[in-house]
Structure formats: C-alpha cells, structure tokens
C-alpha cells in the first residue's frame, strides 16, 4: 500500500497549509494584538470590530489573536512532560535485569491506564482549581502510562539485538547502551508516537479548557471562547465559529502533517501489534 511519492508530498503540503494559519496566529498573534480598546456592548457586529464583540463586549479579533498561545503552549509542555517521565521509566524497565524493578515501574501504570483521561482531569478539578501549569501536568500524567508502555516495547525489541549483547560483552556503560544504542534505534518509533500523542494532547487540552478546567472563565483561549460565546451563537456567530475553525485546523493539520512526514518511517518500524 505504498503511497507514491508525489501523493505523500501533497499530503505533507496540505497538512502544512492547514496547520500554518492557527500556528502563526498562536505564536505571533499576541505581538500584533495591540491595546485592548474600550469595552463595547456584548455580541454586536461591525462598529470598528472586524469580528464583532464577545459575551462581555471585548473585540473578538483581538481575543482570537491572544487565544491560540495557551492552547499550543500547554499542549507542547504536556507532551514534553509526558516523555520526560515515560522515557526513563520505559528504558529502565526494558533494560533492567531485575524483574521486581520492572514490575514496580510498569504495574502502577497498567492500573492508571484504566482511568479515562478526562475523568482523571475532572476528578482533580473537583478539589483543586488547576491553572495552566496544573492542566499541563494533568494531561501529561494522563499520557504517561501509554507512552511508557510504547517506549518499553520499542526498547525491549532493540535491547534484544546482538549489537546490545556485543556492547555488553565489551563492558560498555549502561548509559552508552541505553541512550547511545537503544535510545537511538527507537527514534523513528518515538517520532511517530510523538505525532499521534501531540494530536491527542491537543484534543485533551482544548476539551478540558472548554469544560472550564485550567482556565479563567473569561480567559483569551480559543476553547474558552467557544464555550462562553455559545449563548450568543444566534446573534453573533463569529465569536464561536472563528475559534472553533482554528481549533479544527490546528488539530487536523497537526495530524495530517505528522502522518505524512512519518509515513515511510512508520511503515519501516511498524510493529506487528501495538500493545
């Protein structure tokens, strides 16, 4: 089922085009947003406001410029944090010869895997009021079990190769074996997983923000804008449609881009069954 090369390039370009708009808005938007003007009436159109005003009378276009950064940054931070925990846990449990240590590292994760991620986030939100950092930590925590299992599976496969045996007989250090050989040989698998994981994290961060977790009720955040401006959907749809379309473009584009970029690699290192 190998897709011909031009097709893959085409999909890559498509993904890049779709993701470019929300990404540029998210990263550079706050620079061009300018001062907040005086508040106008809620849910009005025209009158110097490109996209009208929102539920408390702020300029929607300005909110859009500001609203992408929290979504993107929280998602990137959560993905990085998840790997920061999952990589050492997965590598150690794959390379250790102590079965007890392996069980001790992996079994608690199996248990955590049983809790639906959004439920975990809502449970914590009942007792704490997490900020953006708290939300990133929570989303990372929800992603650690799956990521650690994947790292362990990929590392176990690499660690069983003769090359590792040769390194071990030569008396190379654990560090050199784990990072220098095993870590390097599973880079492609990791890159493929990072793509799907980032998509999943974006989904979770946006959904949590929509449900009001980890954000202020009037925050400039695309997901919060969709939620709060819904009441005015019939009067002023732009305040909802524009951020919603940007979120769709961001998630869809990310997924298409990573899928196209990693198509070849994904096929070469694809495992028979994903655990």
């Amino acid at each position: 089922v190998s897709a011909p090369r031009p097709l893959r390039t085409g999909r890559f370009a498509l993904g890049l085009t779709i993701v470019a708009v929300p990404l540029v808005l998210a990263l550079l938007g706050p620079v061009f947003a300018g001062d907040p003007g005086p508040r106008a009436a809620s849910f009005t159109l025209g009158d110097g406001h490109w996209l009208g005003t929102d539920f408390v009378g702020r300029d929607v276009w300005r909110q859009v410029l500001h609203g992408g950064r929290p979504v993107v940054l929280t998602a990137l931070a959560a993905t990085a944090l998840a790997y920061l925990v999952a990589l050492p846990v997965g590598l150690i449990s794959a390379l250790t010869r102590h079965r007890l240590l392996e069980e001790l590292l992996m079994r608690p994760l199996d248990v955590l895997l049983a809790v639906p991620s959004l439920l975990l986030i809502l449970l914590v939100a009942t007792v704490f009021t997490p900020g953006a950092v708290g939300l990133a930590l929570l989303v990372a925590l929800a992603n650690v079990p799956d990521a650690a299992r994947l790292v362990r599976a990929a590392a176990t496969e690499a660690a069983a190769r003769p090359a590792v045996e040769a390194l071990r007989m030569q008396g190379e250090t654990w560090w050199r074996m784990a990072v220098g050989y095993v870590g390097r040989s599973m880079l492609r698998t990791l890159a493929a997983d990072a793509g799907t994981r980032l998509t999943g994290v974006l989904y979770l961060v946006a959904t949590a923000a929509f449900l009001g977790v980890g954000v202020a009720p009037d925050a400039a955040d695309w997901a919060v804008m969709v939620d709060r401006n819904r009441t005015g959907l019939f009067v002023q749809p732009w305040a909802v449609v524009v951020p919603a379309v940007l979120i769709v473009a961001l998630t869809t584009g990310t997924n298409l881009l990573f899928d196209a970029a990693l198509d070849e690699g994904g096929r070469r290192t694809r495992k028979e069954t994903r655990p």
Binding site: D110, T126, L202, T207, F234, L256, P275
Partner: protein, 317 residues
C-alpha cells in the same frame, strides 16, 4: 489450554486490581485537598455554618482509613453516599442521568460497528485508489478534532444556517426518543472520532490479511472473492478492532460529557459536570467509580475476546 487459562486468570487478576485501584484513586484524590477539606469544599460561600455542615456530612473528624473502609463497604452494598449540596442519595443522581446517556451511547455503538467495518472493508478493497484515499484522508483529519469544536460548527451549519435540526435538546427533558431530530447532531458528533479510528484499524488489518499467504492460497483454490473477504480475511482483522472498540468506551465517556454539555442533554455527563462545579465530592466520587469500573470491565472483556480471536498475540497482561 493451560496457556489460555493462565492468560485469562492473569487478565482477570489485573482487572480486579484495576478496579481496586480506581476506588482507591478516586478516594485519594479527594483526600488530597489542601488544608482544611471542609473550607476548601465550601469554596465561594465560606460561612461557618456551611463549613460545619460539610465537615459533619463527610465525617472529616474521623481518620481517613475509617472513612475509606466505610465508603468502600458502602460501594459493595451499592450505597454510594449522599450529595453534599442537596442531601439526596448519589444513586438517585445516577438513576436520573442514566437514561439519556445510555440512549446516546447505545445509539452510537449500534451505528459505530456497521459504519466502521463497512467503510474499513471498502477502503481496503480499493486500497490505493480514489475511494480509499478519500476515506483515509477524511478519517485521518476528523479523528483529531475535539467534539466541542466539531459540534458547534455542525450546529452553526445545520441548525442556524439551514434550520434542518434543533440546535440543542433544551425543553425535551429526558424523553429524547420522542424527539429524534434532537438526537441527530449529538450522535453524529459522538460517532466522529471512534468511527475514524475503527475504519483505519479495520482497513489496515484487512490489507494485511488480504496480502497474506492463506488468502492467496484460498484464491488459488477458486474460493469466491466475497467469501475470502468475509469468512477468511475479516476475522483476522477483528482482533485489534475488538480492542479498539473497548478503547472507544474511554472516548465515548469523554465525548458524552462534552456532547451533553454542548447540546444540553440531562445525562450522566451533565450530572458529573454540575457536581464538579459545585464541588459535590460524594456525587463526583460515585460517578467516577461507576465510570472507572465500567471502563475496566469493558477493557477486560475486549482483551479476552481479542485473545480468543487471535491467541498467538498476547494482549495486555
């Protein structure tokens, strides 16, 4: 046979451990309240009477392990405690929200299976051709979209611009079956992610199976194409799909919470969100235990089915 039995035994043990862990985790999270739990739960209305009432209702002066033992033994008897806000039993909250959520979930699963398998097999049959490319691209794109964004856009188009469907289920109460038009958009949104993932899995499994030596052998014997596809190739593509079907329960749960909030449907998701907003700890705990145990049981079932279908590939435990 002993291999199978020991796998089943290990998987059942893991399931039991997961159930216990879910109960402990749910309890521990609410115990992790900073400072005085009663003050923290009173939140925006920190008047002394309310704080005292919460302290008494949750029996916060007793040691944590005693409360855990009480709560857990109550769970075994089906007693989930009483709400801090209304004083009604938690089981009543569950009973109220159960109908609409069950309706949404079962409609989604009933439509998910034929749609997922149908489109997956269709794509695999035409692998590499326009039909496959269209199905693959659309499923890949929609797979990543959060339900709330998709839902709000569908409302804008179909309820606002075209006026074909009602924008929300407001005013219909729990009797949703009498108003099928109000169910179209919620079910469509709930289906969006699971269908995409199922289609991709079935497609990949079918393409692998159709390229395998036993299918080539069956073709050489002159077995008809349809029979090869549905009685030989499809069962082998089923094992990963069965597991995915259970994983979609996780998504369905996330989706149900969002979709009920978006379309104002009075189901369990709405009950959960309301309880979270009011910091009604017993209600949140009760719902979390029910959702968590449901996920554990369905994943367990799916692993056992997958193991039955393809005993060679060890799954999970």
């Amino acid at each position: 046979v002993s291999g199978l039995r020991s796998f089943v035994a290990r998987r059942l043990l893991l399931g039991a451990l997961q159930t216990v862990a879910v109960v402990l985790l749910v309890f521990a999270l609410t115990e992790a309240l900073p400072g005085d739990a009663a003050v923290a739960l009173a939140g925006d209305q920190p008047d002394p009477a309310r704080i005292a009432a919460i302290r008494e209702a949750m029996q916060l002066d007793r040691p944590a392990w005693e409360r855990l033992a009480d709560w857990a033994s109550g769970l075994l008897r089906g007693d989930l405690g009483t709400s801090l806000v209304s004083g009604r039993p938690v089981s009543q909250y569950l009973a109220d929200g159960f109908g609409p959520t069950l309706l949404l979930a079962s409609l989604t699963v009933v439509l998910l299976v034929p749609a997922g398998f149908g489109l997956g097999v269709l794509a695999a049959r035409h692998a590499g051709r326009p039909a496959d490319r269209l199905i693959s691209s659309v499923t890949l794109a929609v797979y990543a979209v959060p339900e709330f964004a998709l839902g709000v856009l569908l409302v804008t188009v179909f309820a606002l611009r075209l006026g074909w469907l009602p924008p929300t289920a407001v005013g219909y109460g729990t009797d949703l079956l009498a108003h099928p038009a109000a169910l179209v958009l919620p079910v469509l949104v709930l289906l969006s992610r699971p269908v995409c993932s199922l289609v991709r899995l079935v497609r990949a499994g079918m393409i692998d199976a159709l390229a395998s030596p036993y299918v080539a052998q069956a073709r050489r014997y002159g077995v008809s194409g349809a029979r090869v596809r549905y009685t030989h190739a499809l069962p082998n593509a089923l094992a990963p799909a069965a597991q995915q079907l259970a994983r979609t329960v996780d998504w369905l749960l996330c989706g149900v919470i969002v979709v009920e909030a978006l379309y104002v449907i009075p189901g369990l998701g709405t009950v959960l969100l309301g309880a979270v907003a009011e910091r009604d700890v017993p209600v949140v705990q009760g719902l979390a235990v029910v959702f968590g145990v449901l996920t554990v049981v369905l994943n367990l079932g799916a692993d056992l089915v997958a193991h039955r279908l393809a005993p060679r590939t060890g799954v999970a435990a």
